[in-house]
């Protein structure tokens, strides 16, 4: 017994000593990967341009602008004498992030509530699940105008309608994964709760929900990025100009003249998605403290 105790202690000490090193290693890896991607892009561009290869597509400054030009575009004015690109893009990013966050939260709550409902009723699970799945086969582009115009007629602001579209994409992975997670506990654990004469409510909060958390966080990570994509796509048919979706449509039209603007916008979109994903990953770290093999 004492040897096991020493082992546990030993592991803890080991963690403390090397806490800095993994962080540094993580940073080094990040820089290395960025550098490698940069090199691959520029190397590809250089090789195709210098050899004149056109397969699979023609490479020039329009199809593949230099990375430094893309980054430089952030400081260029959008219109003559106007503010640098970064400013309207940051505004748009905030606007879209707001939609995505609201949609993500709404979708997560709805998805989880649905899962809780379905896990308690086989009848509901059989009856509702096909429709939940079917909801995801309808393209969001087809749903978006209906939602935006329908809600607009009720006087609901456009960004809120887009948030609902983002929720439409978010709730599904949450519902499916949470349902799986809520059922994931050992059958003996359910027997144990039954032996304590626990109510369904207590089984839910003491057993089902904690057991579902690894599944739930996996779903939330998927949903985090999906909600940003949902928000961006939702803006387009809603004709909302203030977000990243609007910026993409706008810069699409000027692509042949200013390709770097669209690329710069893409980078901002990716950063927003990564940011939301990062928030979920951070929350997961804070909430889940359990067996390493159980961390999804």
């Amino acid at each position: 017994m004492t040897t096991v105790a020493a082992g546990v202690e030993g592991r803890r000490v080991g963690f403390g000593e090397t806490r800095i090193a993994p962080a540094l290693r993580g940073l080094a890896t990040f820089v290395l990967v960025i550098a490698a991607l940069w090199g691959a892009w520029e190397g590809y561009k250089w090789l195709w341009e210098s050899t004149g290869w056109t397969w699979p597509f023609l490479v020039d400054d329009t199809t593949m602008p230099h990375i430094h030009d893309i980054l430089g575009a952030f400081r260029e004015p959008v219109t003559t004498g106007g503010p640098a690109l970064i400013h309207p893009l940051l505004d748009a990013a905030w606007f879209t992030a707001k939609e995505a966050l609201a949609g993500f939260a709404l979708g997560a709550v709805i998805g989880f509530a649905l899962a809780v409902l379905l896990v308690h009723s086989r009848l509901l699970e059989r009856g509702l699940l096909p429709y939940i799945v079917a909801s995801q086969t309808v393209p969001i582009l087809a749903v978006a105008p209906m939602v935006v115009i329908g809600l607009g007629s009720k006087g609901i602001e456009g960004w809120k309608a887009v948030a609902i579209l983002a929720a439409y994409l978010t709730f599904f992975p949450v519902a499916i994964n949470a349902l799986r997670g809520l059922q994931s506990a050992d059958p003996r654990a359910f027997e144990l709760m039954e032996s304590y004469a626990s109510s369904r409510w207590r089984v839910l909060w003491r057993l089902r929900v904690p057991a579902s958390l690894p599944y739930l966080f996996t779903a939330l990570k998927i949903s985090a990025t999906a909600s940003v994509v949902g928000a961006i796509i939702g803006e387009t048919p809603a004709s909302i100009q203030d977000g990243l979706g609007g910026a993409i449509v706008n810069f699409n039209q000027y692509y042949s003249l200013q390709p770097t603007f669209l690329w710069a916008t893409n980078i901002v979109c990716a950063v927003v998605g990564l940011g939301l994903f990062g928030l979920v990953a951070l929350a997961e770290r804070l909430v889940l403290r359990r067996a390493p093999e159980h961390v999804a």
């Binding site: 032996s195 207590r202 003491r206 057993l207």
Partner: protein, 273 residues
């Protein structure tokens, strides 16, 4: 209510359990378990010993027959938290620390925090795991996890402890050590134990009575009183009487094991005290 049931912790009469598949898991089980007894259920797999344990715990409903626990229906006994249960796996919640696992039933019973904390300390002391309060289950060995599970089962002072092959997944050395600890815990807690096992020496070493079951349909083949003196220790396993009893259980198993021997399967020598 008949006379013996008044003082029995468990009283079963004419108990039968058939599953919808047509399998008769238990047939005509009559068994009385007195306070303070340590009764082992032993038999080949499929003899219904785990089913019998679950019927006592009201986790499975019998098809017919009567089960009384502490003189009331098994259902009422479960609602009253009259028993604790230990499974083959420890079934600890890995999102809870060791201490919080032990206090789980106490939380459900709405004990206040101070009382819970005190009891968890006592229980961890009982199973010799003091100092592991804030460890996570997965940091412990299998034997230690099972001891946490025992501490959890006994934390709310149930009159009855149901154990379903609790040491079945452990190695022989750990199992023997835990057997000794279990006897000490049984002695300290003065609870009644129903213990499912498929190990003959384990059943003989631990029990005051060994209930030998036979399969298809599951029934009681023989009940053997274990008259080894208490307290038992490592020396018990070397006594002649220990080997005699091990042989007796083995023969009862062979006789009831579905082989066509001259003996009738249900020669129940019900021991009354």
């Amino acid at each position: 209510m008949t006379a013996p049931t008044d003082t029995s912790v468990v009283s079963m009469t004419g108990l039968t359990k058939s599953f919808r598949t047509g399998v008769t898991a238990l047939q005509d089980i009559d068994l009385d378990i007195r306070p303070g007894e340590f009764v082992s259920l032993i038999g080949p797999s499929g003899c219904g010993k785990s089913t019998l344990l679950r019927v006592i715990g009201d986790l499975i409903q019998p098809t017919s027959g009567r089960v009384l626990v502490n003189g009331k229906s098994a259902h009422q006994a479960r609602l009253d938290h009259d028993y604790g249960i230990v499974f083959q796996d420890a079934v600890l919640y890995d999102w809870r620390t060791v201490a919080r696992n032990v206090s789980l039933p106490l939380e459900l019973l709405r004990w206040d925090r101070a009382r819970r904390k005190r009891r968890v300390q006592e229980m961890l002391e009982l199973v010799e795991l003091t100092g592991f309060e804030s460890s996570r289950p997965w940091q412990l060995s299998g034997g230690m996890q099972q001891r946490v599970s025992i501490a959890r089962a006994l934390s709310f002072d149930p009159a009855l402890l149901l154990m379903d092959e609790p040491f079945g997944a452990l190695d022989e050395m750990t199992r023997e050590r835990l057997n000794m600890q279990l006897l000490r815990i049984w002695d300290a807690s003065r609870s009644t134990v129903v213990f499912v096992t498929h190990s003959i020496p384990e059943a003989v070493f631990l029990s005051t009575r060994v209930v030998v079951m036979s399969p298809r349909p599951g029934r009681i083949a023989e009940v053997i009183a274990v008259d080894l003196p208490q307290p038992r220790g490592a020396a018990t396993r070397e006594e002649t009487r220990f080997f005699e009893l091990v042989t007796a259980v083995r023969e009862a198993l062979a006789a009831g094991g579905g082989h066509d021997s001259g003996r009738t399967a249900a020669t129940t020598t019900e021991e009354r005290y």
